[in-house]
């Protein structure tokens, strides 16, 4: 993410609470590790209720990112399938499962609940290349 000023995330599955948490974690990494000042998300939805609930939840990182001088905009496309993260310095990250590639812990107090580097993953491919 070094040298990038903007990041675009296309991922149809940023709608359930744990998926929005995955996205918040990505935003936390952006805040901590980069000088990115703009985040764009395009995601999907099944029905209007789900869309309304996702909009409400996504408003929360939007507000706290704004307090850190980072603009976050989101939009919905119900036909979206592919997952892709694009940085404005040319790097592209494609994860087969998108951000939702961690296994659910058996319990919420086990090791790896908070620190995802200790959490088991689902099988997926990660392709990182320069466009």
């Amino acid at each position: 993410m070094q040298g990038a000023k903007a990041i675009e995330i296309e991922d149809p599955y940023i709608r359930m609470p744990h998926q929005i948490q995955n996205f918040v974690r990505l935003c936390e990494a952006v805040v901590k590790l980069s000088n990115i000042k703009r985040i764009d998300l395009i995601t999907g939805y099944d029905d209007e209720l789900q869309k309304t609930e996702a909009e409400q939840k996504l408003g929360e990182p939007k507000q706290s990112l704004l307090e850190m001088d980072i603009i976050f905009e989101y939009d919905f496309n119900p036909n979206l399938h592919d997952r892709e993260i694009r940085l404005d310095n040319g790097w592209i990250v494609k994860i087969g499962r998108g951000l939702d590639f961690y296994q659910k812990p058996e319990s919420w107090f086990e090791i790896g609940t908070n620190d995802l580097s200790l959490r088991k993953c689902l099988e997926t491919k990660v392709d990182i290349f320069r466009g």
Copy 2:
């Protein structure tokens, strides 16, 4: 934590779910950053129901630590007041508020929900010294 093989945590407030999560996060740091093979926790309780619930929750990191060859034992002392973390290489960490020194986020989707280095703290003193 480098060079330490065992850690003892005395903290009366490892009983509410978020406090046990704080403790699980400490265990995650132990797993990731040290060669510690034994963790001892002494904590407190208000009543038998709270103690039973805490025992149940603490059994979960106990099991997952065991799978990583780390022994975790806990005990209860209802009269405990002071907070102290002791490493067997002589280092002692005293935090006025114990592990429970983070502010509750205003929402569970804001930046700093997951990455505590981005979360606001409560006022407390941290003393680190070699005993």
